[in-house]
């Protein structure tokens, strides 16, 4: 098994939702996943994050069968962001710190946290209540939170669906520049043609089986 591939997927079947015979995902690339609703895009992403165990077939992560890797250790390196942004009760700072804690890392100091928020085009302060943020701000907070972590792969499920196009482009541009610096890979589900055209280095289209 060659290891310049990030994920190797063979004969994958999940719950009659997803049916992928042969799919390779390359390392260090930005891969955009598009497709009709109900095609199983989120399901595919969850199987890569080990949130779903496939009914049959094999997934290899850097050449190792996914079922031989500990789920929690895998998710710490292959982080996923679901469609609904995860906001914990408390301030923006609490939310950023929660990311570090759940991921098993030591939290960064306030300067780093502040910078992370501002990089996401947010004008909020750390002590502000995260519960009152708008949908778009919650998505950006969730993105800022995972960007602070040391992941190898980022799996994003429609991460900027609640943002206007200009902000969406700026936020993703920053996000991708940062993960390139970390030599991490990005897999992103998107419905935006513009995002797909501008950022995708590899493209996957899922159709309903």
């Amino acid at each position: 098994m060659t290891t310049d591939l990030l994920f190797t997927i063979r004969e994958l079947r999940v719950n009659n939702i997803l049916n992928v015979n042969h799919l390779d995902i390359k390392k260090d690339k930005v891969t955009c996943i598009t497709g009709e609703s109900g095609a199983g895009k989120s399901t595919l992403m969850k199987t890569l994050n080990k949130m779903i165990t496939p009914d049959s077939g094999e997934i290899f992560y850097k050449g190792t069968p996914l079922k031989e890797i500990d789920s929690v250790q895998h998710r710490r390196k292959v982080i996923m962001l679901s469609q609904v942004p995860l906001i914990f009760p408390g301030t923006i700072k609490d939310n950023l710190i929660m990311g570090y804690k759940l991921n098993g890392m030591k939290p960064g100091d306030d300067e780093i946290l502040k910078q992370a928020i501002h990089n996401m085009q947010m004008t909020k302060e750390l002590h502000e209540d995260a519960g009152t943020l708008s949908g778009g701000e919650k998505q950006r907070l969730a993105l800022a939170r995972i960007l602070l972590l040391e992941a190898d792969v980022y799996l994003l499920d429609e991460p900027t669906s609640a943002l206007d196009e200009d902000t969406e482009m700026m936020v993703l541009d920053h996000f991708i520049r940062e993960i390139k610096k970390k030599h991490a890979s990005l897999l992103m589900i998107t419905h935006s043609n513009k995002v797909n055209e501008q950022f995708a280095e590899e493209r996957i289209y899922l159709s309903r089986s």
Binding site: V72, M80, L81, V84, L86, F88, L102, G104
Partner: protein, 265 residues
């Protein structure tokens, strides 16, 4: 009875107390609330159950046999566990039922042993006059505590599924992903006991104390018992509920650390 100050209620006076039931039936009828049947049933069952309990307890006290005492405790535990299963609804998986039984028995038995042997210390150790009422209070309160925590835990696992899965996706250990909801379930289960302690003696005199005072025991002795009983209940509720939730959350994760609010079957 060594203490003769208590008045024995004559039969006709006792029956006169049932006028309160008639009063309620009248109110229900006038207001058009369809509860008469249930009230009659409740009054009937209360009477029957207490009469039986009175004779059974008299019999047990006279025999004062260790096996009989332990048998009664065993039946109480069984009934309490069965009540939790019924109260919690139909969604309990087999492994969760096991967890409930284990935590109920370990929590209450530990507290009961400590309470009987250290705090009150009566002889012989199986004296049903002490053992049975104390066990009743400890088991009954733990039962209520576990029922509450089961309900709160199942509710928040269903409603907060996205939050729990979102935390797992970031690489959270299952324990960390459910921690806020597990803590909430513990808190909800012990709050009634703590509230009860806050109002104690001012807003209400608990049943046991009322009973003791009515039967001629000095209020000072009655409060001694009340204090230790309340502390015993607190400990027993806390212990059985913490054992329950620490074991229970694991039922909701599979070997791949994937979460399911219905639990493993």
């Amino acid at each position: 009875m060594e203490n003769s100050s208590i008045i024995d209620i004559e039969l006709w006076r006792l029956i006169s107390a049932y006028l309160f039931v008639l009063l309620l039936i009248f109110i229900f009828k006038v207001r058009g609330i369809a509860r008469q049947k249930m009230l009659v049933m409740a009054a009937f069952r209360m009477t029957l159950q207490l009469v039986i309990a009175g004779y059974v307890l008299t019999y047990l006290f006279e025999l004062s046999n260790p096996y009989l005492t332990l048998g009664v405790i065993f039946i109480m535990e069984g009934f309490a566990i069965y009540t939790i299963y019924k109260q919690a609804g139909t969604r309990l998986s087999v492994s969760l039922k096991k967890t409930i039984a284990i935590s109920m028995i370990t929590g209450t038995v530990f507290c009961l042993i400590f309470f009987n042997f250290v705090v009150i210390h009566f002889e012989p150790w199986y004296d049903p006059r002490y053992f049975i009422p104390i066990a009743g209070m400890i088991i009954g309160n733990s039962m209520t505590g576990i029922t509450l925590s089961v309900k709160v835990l199942l509710n928040s696992f269903t409603s907060q599924r996205d939050m729990i899965e979102g935390a797992l996706m970031l690489g959270a250990e299952p324990k960390a992903a459910v921690k806020p909801y597990v803590n909430h379930a513990f808190d909800s289960a012990v709050m009634p006991t703590i509230n009860n302690m806050l109002g104690m003696g001012i807003i209400f005199l608990p049943g046991m104390m009322t009973g003791q005072i009515l039967s001629g025991v000095s209020p000072l002795l009655a409060i001694e018992y009340q204090i230790v009983i309340l502390l015993g209940i607190l400990g027993s509720v806390g212990l059985s509920v913490i054992i329950f939730i620490l074991l229970a959350y694991k039922n909701f994760f599979n070997q791949d650390a994937q979460f399911s609010p219905e639990g493993k079957s």
